[in-house]
């Protein structure tokens, strides 16, 4: 099978999993879900790492390094701020 087709299989099936897993989220969790999902979209960091690897600072490495920078903000900031919000929800008086 064409690798593109395999990729499309994965995309479609994962989308269905996403719809199934996420429906019926209570409104209380809408914001944390969004910021948590946003942190997950920082997975692009995996691709960014692979493009920022060589010794000579060529333009592709600089672009890759910038991608690593933005993706890391997304990942670290996203998960931390989600945790901060969820900690508030769990607080009991």
């Amino acid at each position: 099978m064409d690798p593109l087709l395999i990729g499309i299989y994965v995309l479609v099936l994962a989308s269905f999993v996403g719809f199934e897993v996420i429906t019926k989220v209570p409104p209380t969790l809408h914001t944390p879900l969004m910021s948590g999902a946003n942190a997950i979209s920082g997975i692009t960091i995996v691709g960014a790492l692979a493009t920022a690897t060589t010794a000579n600072p060529t333009l592709s490495n600089i672009l890759g390094g910038a991608a690593v920078f933005f993706a890391t903000i997304n990942v670290v900031g996203g998960f931390m701020v989600t945790d901060r919000m969820l900690k508030m929800f769990g607080r009991k008086k």
């Binding site: 690798p3 593109l4 990729g7 995309l11 994962a14 989308s15 999993v17 996403g18 719809f19 897993v21 996420i22 989220v25 209570p26 409104p27 209380t28 969790l29 809408h30 944390p32 969004m34 910021s35 948590g36 999902a37 946003n38 942190a39 997950i40 979209s41 997975i43 692009t44 960091i45 995996v46 691709g47 960014a48 790492l49 920022a52 690897t53 060589t54 060529t58 592709s60 490495n61 672009l63 890759g64 390094g65 991608a67 690593v68 920078f69 933005f70 993706a71 890391t72 903000i73 997304n74 900031g77 998960f79 701020v81 945790d83 919000m85 969820l86 929800f89 607080r91 009991k92 008086k93």
Partner: protein
Amino acid sequence: MSWLADNFSALLYLISAVMFIFGLKRLGRVRTARGGNQVAASAMLLAIVATLLDLEIVDYRWIVGGMVLGGLVGAVAATKVAMTAMPEMVAIFNGFGGAASVLVALAVVWQEVIEREVVGAPLEVLGGTAAVTIGLSILIGAVTLSGSLIAYLKLQGKLKRGQPIMLPGRHLINLALGLGALVFAAQFVGASAAGEAQTSTLSLAGLSLALGILLVIPIGGADMPVVVSLLNSYSGMAASATGFVLGNNLLIISGALVGASGLILTQIMCVAMNRSLLNVLVGGFGETDSGGGGGADEYTSVKSCGAEEAAMMLETAESCIIVPGYGLAVAQAQHIVREMADLLIGRGTKVTYAIHPVAGRMPGHMNVLLAEADVPYEQLVEMDAINPEFKTTDVVIVLGANDVVNPAAIDDKASPIYGMPILNAHEARSVFVVKRSLSPGYAGIKNGLFELDNTTMIFGDAKKVIQAVANELKELS
């Protein structure tokens, strides 16, 4: 054993993908949400470690630099941001996700095509899948980036105070930009020289950035919950597109999960406003005068009072529902509201909060604000659950909300918000509306609630008014 060694990182990616799914599932329930977020964060760490193990690296400088700086910026932003600024924070982070996708796609183009000065079409050098999806990755990533930056500025009130900006002929301009982007994407695929690949990808990125700006500027501030959810979905789709470029299934899966969750939230927000996604995206809502303008002159029989009278009413009330809106966030009144609610609860009054799904500037905005003020989430009640309660409620306090309590949505077929689900605040025995003035809400229409016999306006800043009410209550006790 060499099979295991060859596929080791791919196996770790599989574990990581499964952990993302479990994490997201747990994020959907209040009890397990915090754990779910931690599972997702661990999945990310695993994916990063797996990638680093797999790289044949000579030099870590760019990686370490990018990660240390990015981690610092992210950690500081996440710790310092005020809960009232959470919509801006989510918006700008969406943009960073898009930026990463564009940059990775461009880095691949430079690394594989331009810096090697290869002769021949990128189609042959990169393979068909990568060549086509690089264009897609740049397009979606750049639209997400510039669209999110505009949303961020609008949420900060910096861009025309969040009002829609309507360019003449904007649909034609958007169409031209979109078509132009596709032409450059096609030109890249068929490029025969490195120089052509360079100009086509950069032009594609430029047009996509412009498209992102133009798509978001006509959309008004109160429609931002839809826009932020949609951009969230785009940031996932951009990650998926990058996954196709790199042939990495983990990116495709994670991106698809985020894309799906963003679409679900977008859908929930649209239903809560009784509007189609297209209607929101076309923009300019509230700019037309179809609803008859609004403003102080429109109102004939409005009563108003001060905090003292409201406090006296509350003193004898057995039940009270608070309806928070964006005005509560602007006035930063969440802490004083909780203080007032605690005083009432101390006197035996039943206090609940009625949460409209689109109150505020992002999905769940009110919940986050009230949670910051330590309001137990059991006191926050969703629209469908609380609507039957209004009839038997003594006092309703509307705090900085307007369109979501406008009875025109139920009984005025000519109203632009007709059919939108609202909170039935008008059914309560008495209603206090805390508002700065009689200026119309986002929909730009008059609110019949303000003229009802059982409604009394309290003009002023939400924080100051509630502070005064709380002081009165203290004196009474």
